[in-house]
Symmetry: C2
Subunit: 182 residues, 2 copies
DNA sequence: CTCTTTTTAGCACAGTCGTGTTAACTTGTT
DNA sequence: AACAAGTTAACACGACTGTGCTAAAAAGAG
């Protein structure tokens, strides 16, 4: 009857518009109007797919999570799994930057915080399996050590991409895994 | 002649008001009016000490930097220096949270970015000296490994203070230093 | 007390914000 | 061709934003 539009696809394209706005102007630059313009819609039209601004944000954050999870899920070796978590190319660095922006806002937004904490727990469990695979019977402290190292590398890659280059990230991780085996 | 007020002290108290607002409502919650109210001033009065909002933010960020630098400067042993960088108590966790908020905004604010990058370079150099002190002649990769580990621990302490407890942070750092020596 | 200068408070302005409502448009079905 | 429903656009509302400007209040100096 009406113009045929797949709502889910539309919502996804809106989420990607959110990401672009975040990268350009930060999470503060995200308003109903800026996102609508970025997505090529009117503000009123956007509100037809998302009732509130909070809904837009949670959806955009959830989509980042889903994307990373899908990537990690297909990785097999320990080194490859960690490689999927690190921003080794420009696209994933952008993704990490968006994730970091949402994570800091989660500090004062209960809904986003729930999303973040759930992801944190999953990643912690993942690191636990990685450590167990590389060094069976290792102490629990090694899990947090690996996890903190990864997140630190991600942080540095986002903040100082000129210094924390993909090559350096890989070298650091390889060095750490090598030591973990022994 | 007029009411006697030390401008620098006033500016510092305004900066502390900024920190409290950031902790409560995030960096987005920082406006001339909210900060003025938090500092017990009127908006017009605040503008007498800071010409623009950008000036308020850079001053508040600079004061965080100065405070950390002063603390690190008096530390002697490697372990104590790292201890000053980690949020081992509630006050320093708050400080780290404020720092993280400013750092992410620096991603889209050139002025704040300059402050952040300068601090990043100083911390990197500091980690270089720490590594050299613990393991003379170690590879450069160990510097980034230690720095990323520290920043990852800080990040986790801010985001998940219930999981990344002070005890865990210390244990992880001690474990890393122990390995670094060998 | 009177003067002078710092400090303070308050208002005005144009702009943006989230959100609600309403009308127009588009398109498949009857 | 006529209808119906999904989709879009546009406007209104109150609230908040940063910033400039003006007048009042405060307090040491003469």
């Amino acid at each position: 009857m009406p113009k045929v539009v797949d709502p889910e696809q539309r919502r996804a394209s809106v989420a990607e518009a959110v990401w672009r706005v975040v990268l350009r102007n930060g999470l503060d630059g995200v308003s109903v109007r800026t996102v609508a313009t970025e997505a090529g819609l009117s503000a009123g039209s956007l509100r037809h797919y998302f009732a509130t601004q909070a809904e837009v944000l949670t959806f955009a954050m959830q989509l980042v999570i889903d994307r990373v999870r899908a990537r990690v899920h297909v990785a097999t070796t320990v080194r490859d799994v960690i490689g999927e978590l690190l921003p080794l190319d420009a696209e994933r660095r952008a993704e990490a930057e968006v994730w970091l922006a949402f994570s800091t806002r989660a500090q004062v937004d209960p809904t986003l915080r729930a999303l973040r904490d759930t992801s944190y727990d999953l990643l912690e469990a993942l690191c636990g399996r990685l450590v167990e695979a590389v060094a069976p019977g290792a102490q629990d402290v090694e899990v947090e050590r690996l996890y903190a190292l990864i997140d630190g590398l991600v942080l540095h890659a986002v903040m100082r991409p000129d210094r924390a280059t993909p090559e350096l990230l890989r070298t650091v991780v390889d060095r750490h895994l090598e030591e973990l085996v022994h």
